[in-house]
Symmetry: C2
């Protein structure tokens, strides 16, 4: 199909498709004339993947490029697949080698993390720093509650890593890391509404002593 | 203190502080001369909050402005606090009123969500669409596993909403929504490493039949 048909099929504009071609995210079509190329179903599914990484995945074009590069040429070694995935998907501005609070928590909880991988620990450090900067202290025991919820989720996820081939495993880990994040956050926001409805429905107002504005 | 001292105190450049002043995120200092103003501890803590929202919170300047506006002038009504928080913190490009998969799941799970609030359901719809676009199907039962983990977390969070005043509650809900998100994601990535170390440490390679590259 021509690029205009590819645009209709994927609902992505011709200009955007050409941008992905120039940025190397999408492979060139088969040249049929000096200014014309032929695209196939492979281009359609690649564009869907690009859109998923840039949209719900929340990656920059550069970060999406790294993820796609890894998916295209997966390492043969099974070693450190998770590390590669986490690095390639990283969008953190400046990973730091100093993350004292993160280190202290991980040691307290007895979590085994790669001492050479500073990215995930920097993210945790920045998140903790953000809470402190905002003067927001989670209630007693909440850090542990969050850690334990994520530990259960992650254990189930890692158990299901496909062991058929490194390429399959890498695809699962990278897309599972990047694309499941917006899913979890959306579910948490909806779960807030559900919990709020269940808990506050029993009371006329959660603040019985606060003056209410007439509706 | 002068703006240059405020910059040293907060480790934020004078140019950035002036940008926040112009954007209305930071309140003006007390004017002491035509081109000079005096800043106090209130400006320091406000700048820390701004930095937390823009950095770990991942908000745009416009979205941070909305959150701060709500925190500055909280609604008197306790009604729909969670909805206000979710909306103000929203960074979703185009919330849609059509989210059939999200609706179907919520109905199946029996979650009570605000029928007028399309933001969180649009997020869920986009996340599900992203998984499909990428050709990534979570293993059997995983959607329910994610939902149940987030439901437990959210129920604990909503139970702890401070009931002393609407302003306090709003602060807790808004900052808890925005600033806890990067915390959860960082913990999930670290938990992947921990689970991977525990599960794969028992095997020489998770892919016994795959050829390994020499290190």
């Amino acid at each position: 199909m021509r690029v205009s048909e590819l645009a209709v099929e994927t609902d992505i504009s011709v200009a955007t498709i050409k941008y992905y071609l120039r940025a190397g995210l999408l492979h060139e079509g088969r040249r049929t004339a000096p200014r014309q190329a032929d695209y196939d179903a492979g281009h359609v599914s690649r564009l869907r993947l690009i859109r998923a990484l840039l949209g719900p995945g929340g990656l920059s074009v550069a970060a999406a490029g790294k993820v796609l590069e890894q998916l295209d040429e997966p390492t043969e070694s099974a070693h450190d697949l998770l590390g590669i995935a986490a690095h390639a998907a990283a969008a953190l501005p400046k990973p730091s080698t100093s993350h004292p609070r993160a280190d202290a928590l991980l040691e307290k909880w007895g979590w085994s993390v790669d001492p050479e991988d500073h990215d995930a620990r920097s993210r945790l450090e920045q998140a903790l720093q953000g809470l402190e900067d905002a003067g927001f202290e989670p209630p007693e025991g909440f850090l542990e509650m969050y850690a334990s919820a994520m530990r259960e989720v992650a254990a189930r996820e890692v158990e299901e890593v496909p062991q058929s081939s490194p390429a399959e495993a890498l695809r699962y880990v990278m897309l599972g890391t990047v694309l499941v994040e917006p899913l979890l956050l959306a579910l948490r926001r909806l779960a807030h509404q559900d919990a709020s409805a269940r808990i506050f429905a029993r009371q006329a107002s959660p603040w019985p002593n606060a003056e209410r504005t007439p509706e």
